[in-house]
C-alpha cells in the first residue's frame, strides 16, 4: 500500500506552520538562496551575452579576412571586393584599416587607435556606426571629420563640433572636426579609438587603397563555418576567421565568471540546506515521542519519512516561489538601473526564463536532499525507544 500523501501532507502542513518564527527563518533562507541564484546568474549571463553581442556587432563580421602571414595589408583590395560582391551568400562587406596615432586637444593628448572604414559599407555590415551617442555619423567623403570614442572624448575634453589635431604614424598631422561621439560597450575600443573614412586615412598615410581586415556579413551567421572555404578559394586568401573564433577569447572570461557565480550560488544553497536540514533534524529529535505514538497508531516507516520530507517540500515550494518573485523583480530592477563597472562601463543582468527554472530546480532539490537524512532517522525510529525514551 503506497504512502497516503494526503494524510502526510495534512500533518506536515500543521507541523511547519506551528512555529511562525522558525517558519519565517527557513523560508527566508530559501528565498535568499533562490533569488541569489537568479540575480547572480542573470548578471553573469547578461554580462557575457552583452560582451559577445557587442563584439560581434561592432568589431567582427560573420567572417573576417586578414592579411596573409607577415603582411600588414590585404593585397589587391579592389579585385577582392569585386569578387565578394558577386558571391551569393555575402550580404555585405566592409574593409577596415587599423593604424595608430596621437590625438591632441590643446595641451591634452593621447595615443589612439585609428580605425578607418568606409561608412556606407560598414553600415551595411556591422552596427558599429549605430553606436553614436552624440553628433552624427561619417560620410565616405568627409575628409575633415572624425568620430571619437566616448572615454577618449572625456579624457581630452572633446565634444561634438570641437577641433582636434591627429598625428599619424608617418609624422603627418591634420586638424579634424569631431563629428560624433561613439560608445560600443567594449572597454578597449571605448577608451582610445578614432574613426575616420578609409579614403582619407589611405591618403594621409600614403597607402594605396589598403585594408588590414575585411569584415563580411553573410545572409545567416550560422553559415560562417560552411562558407569559409568558399571565401578562401574564390578570393585566394588563407587567413579567415569566423565570428565564433573571434569571440572565443571571451569564453575563458565567461567560464571564469560562471565558476565565480556558481560559488556564490553554492554558498547560498549550502546555507539554505544547512538551515533546512538542522531545523528538520531538531524537529525530528524534538518529536521523538510523537513519532513513536504515530507508529504505535499504525503509521509505517515510509509514512513518517514522507511526513518530514514533505515538510522540506513545503518549505521549498513556498520559499522558492517567493524567491522566484524576488529574483525576477531584482533582475528587472537592475536591468533598468545598471550599476557602473569600470571595465564595461556598466553592468546589468538580463532576465531569461531559464534563470527561474534553474534556480527553482536546484534550490528545490537541495532543500529536499537536506531533509532526506533527518526524515530517514525519523522513519527508522524504534517505537519502544521513541515512546519510553532511551
Amino acid at each position: 500500500m503506497p504512502v497516503d500523501l494526503r494524510c502526510a501532507l495534512f500533518y506536515s502542513r500543521k507541523d511547519i506552520f506551528k512555529n511562525k518564527k522558525i517558519f519565517a527563518f527557513i523560508t527566508l533562507s530559501i528565498i535568499f538562496a533562490t533569488a541569489n541564484i537568479i540575480v547572480i546568474n542573470g548578471l553573469t549571463d547578461g554580462m557575457i551575452k552583452d560582451l559577445v553581442d557587442n563584439t560581434i556587432e561592432s568589431s567582427s563580421g560573420h567572417l573576417n579576412i586578414y592579411p596573409a602571414d607577415n603582411e600588414r595589408f590585404i593585397e589587391g583590395l579592389g579585385v577582392k571586393e569585386q569578387r565578394l560582391a558577386a558571391l551569393e551568400e555575402v550580404e555585405a562587406y566592409s574593409p577596415r584599416l587599423s593604424a595608430s596615432g596621437v590625438l591632441s586637444n590643446k595641451e591634452l593628448s593621447a595615443s589612439v587607435a585609428i580605425l578607418a572604414l568606409d561608412p556606407d559599407k560598414e553600415r551595411r555590415t556591422t552596427k558599429l556606426l549605430d553606436k553614436i551617442t552624440k553628433g552624427m555619423a561619417l560620410n565616405s567623403n568627409d575628409n575633415n571629420a572624425i568620430l571619437v570614442s566616448y572615454r577618449l572624448a572625456e579624457d581630452l575634453k572633446l565634444d561634438v563640433g570641437d577641433e582636434a589635431e591627429l598625428a599619424f604614424e608617418n609624422g603627418k598631422s591634420k586638424v579634424y572636426n569631431v563629428k560624433g561621439i561613439i560608445r560600443t560597450g567594449a572597454a578597449d575600443f571605448d577608451s582610445s579609438t578614432v574613426i575616420m573614412p578609409l579614403n582619407e586615412a589611405n591618403q594621409q598615410l600614403a597607402f594605396d587603397n589598403s585594408a588590414s581586415v575585411i569584415l563580411i556579413k553573410l545572409s545567416d551567421k550560422e553559415l560562417a563555418d560552411a562558407y569559409m572555404p568558399v571565401i578562401m578559394q574564390v578570393l585566394g586568401v588563407s587567413n579567415v576567421k569566423t565570428w565564433k573564433e573571434e569571440t572565443e577569447y571571451l569564453l575563458s572570461f565567461a567560464e571564469a565568471w560562471q565558476s565565480f557565480s556558481s560559488i556564490i550560488s553554492a554558498v547560498g544553497l549550502v546555507a539554505a540546506a544547512i538551515s533546512v536540514g538542522i531545523i528538520i533534524y531538531i524537529n525530528v529529535i524534538h518529536k521523538t515521542r510523537q513519532i513513536g505514538i504515530m507508529k504505535a497508531i499504525g503509521a509505517k516507516d515510509d509514512f513518517i519519512f514522507t511526513v518530514f520530507l514533505m515538510e522540506a517540500v513545503l518549505f521549498g515550494v513556498i520559499g522558492v516561489s517567493i524567491g522566484d518573485g524576488v529574483g525576477y523583480f531584482a533582475v528587472k530592477y537592475l536591468e533598468a538601473h545598471p550599476f557602473p563597472e569600470p571595465m564595461l562601463g556598466s553592468m546589468a543582468p538580463r532576465f531569461y526564463m531559464y534563470l527561474l527554472y534553474d534556480a527553482s530546480l536546484v534550490t528545490m532539490l537541495t532543500v529536499i536532499l537536506a531533509a532526506v537524512y533527518p526524515a530517514f532517522i525519523a522513519g527508522r525510529m524504534n517505537i519502544i525507544k521513541a515512546i519510553w525514551g532511551d
Partner: protein, 222 residues
C-alpha cells in the same frame, strides 16, 4: 472466543552485559469483550507484556495469537497495518499530537486508514467521550483528564478489536481517574470493547472484570 492468547511468551533485554528477563514464560488468554486489568509491582513485566500483545515489539520466544492469528511472524509493515486497523492504544501521558486539535487528533488514524467520513466520525467519538464542546482545542488547551479522553476517542477511531491502556490514569487525580475508568466500563458494556489496562491502583483494577498479576516476568496466581 479468545481475543488474546500467549504461550510461553518470553522477552529478554540486554541493556548491558547482563540479560534482563522482562517476561519469562507467560501463558495467558483473554476473551472477546473482556475488561482485564494488569497489576503487579514495578518491573514485573506489565508494560513489556502489553507492548508485545500490542505488536509494538517482538518477543524473544513464544507465541502470540490475536483473534486467532499468529502475529509473531508478521513483518513490520504488516504489524503497522494490523495496529492501525485492529488495536487502540492509550499511554500514560503525552499521547496526542501537539499541533493538531482534538478533532484532528481523532481524525488522524482514520485518514491514515483512508477511511471516508472521518470528520463526522471524529466528532461523534469526541461526543461519546464527553468532549463535544472541545473539538477545536489544542492538547495544550485541555486538562490531563480531557487529553486522555481525546486519546481514548482516537484509539477507537478505526473500531479496533482491542484497546490497550498502559497506566492511562497514572497522571490523573482520583476524580479524573474514575471518569476515565467509567468511560472504559461504558465502552466495554455498551460496545463490547475488549480492554486490557495496566494500573497500579487497586481501586481502579477492582472495576475490571478480572485482574492478572505480573511479578518478575511471570503471571502470579493469587
Amino acid at each position: 472466543m479468545e481475543m488474546i492468547r500467549t504461550g510461553n511468551l518470553k522477552k529478554s533485554y540486554m541493556p548491558g552485559k547482563v540479560e534482563v528477563k522482562a517476561l519469562n514464560g507467560v501463558d495467558t488468554s483473554i476473551e472477546h469483550g473482556e475488561f482485564v486489568a494488569i497489576m503487579g509491582p514495578s518491573g514485573g513485566g506489565k508494560s513489556t507484556f502489553l507492548n508485545l500483545v500490542g505488536m509494538l515489539d517482538t518477543p524473544t520466544s513464544g507465541e502470540i495469537y490475536i483473534d486467532g492469528s499468529d502475529v509473531t511472524k508478521m513483518n513490520s509493515n504488516t504489524r503497522a497495518e494490523y495496529r492501525l486497523k485492529h488495536i487502540g492504544f492509550v499511554f500514560q501521558f503525552f499521547n496526542l499530537f501537539n499541533e493538531l486539535t482534538a478533532v484532528e487528533n481523532v481524525m488522524f488514524p482514520m485518514m491514515l486508514n483512508k477511511q471516508s467520513g472521518y470528520k463526522y466520525r471524529a466528532k461523534e467519538l469526541l461526543n461519546l467521550v464527553g468532549l463535544g464542546d472541545r473539538l477545536h482545542h489544542l492538547p495544550s488547551e485541555l486538562s490531563g483528564g480531557q487529553q486522555q479522553r481525546v486519546t481514548i476517542a482516537r484509539s477507537l477511531a478505526n473500531d479496533p478489536k482491542m484497546l490497550l491502556a498502559d497506566e492511562p490514569t497514572g497522571n490523573l487525580d482520583t476524580k479524573s481517574s474514575i471518569e476515565i475508568i467509567e468511560l472504559f466500563r461504558k465502552l466495554n458494556q455498551e460496545r463490547g470493547q475488549t480492554i486490557v489496562m495496566v494500573t497500579h491502583s487497586p481501586e481502579i483494577g477492582g472495576m475490571a472484570d478480572r485482574i492478572i498479576h505480573f511479578r518478575d516476568g511471570i503471571i502470579e496466581n493469587l
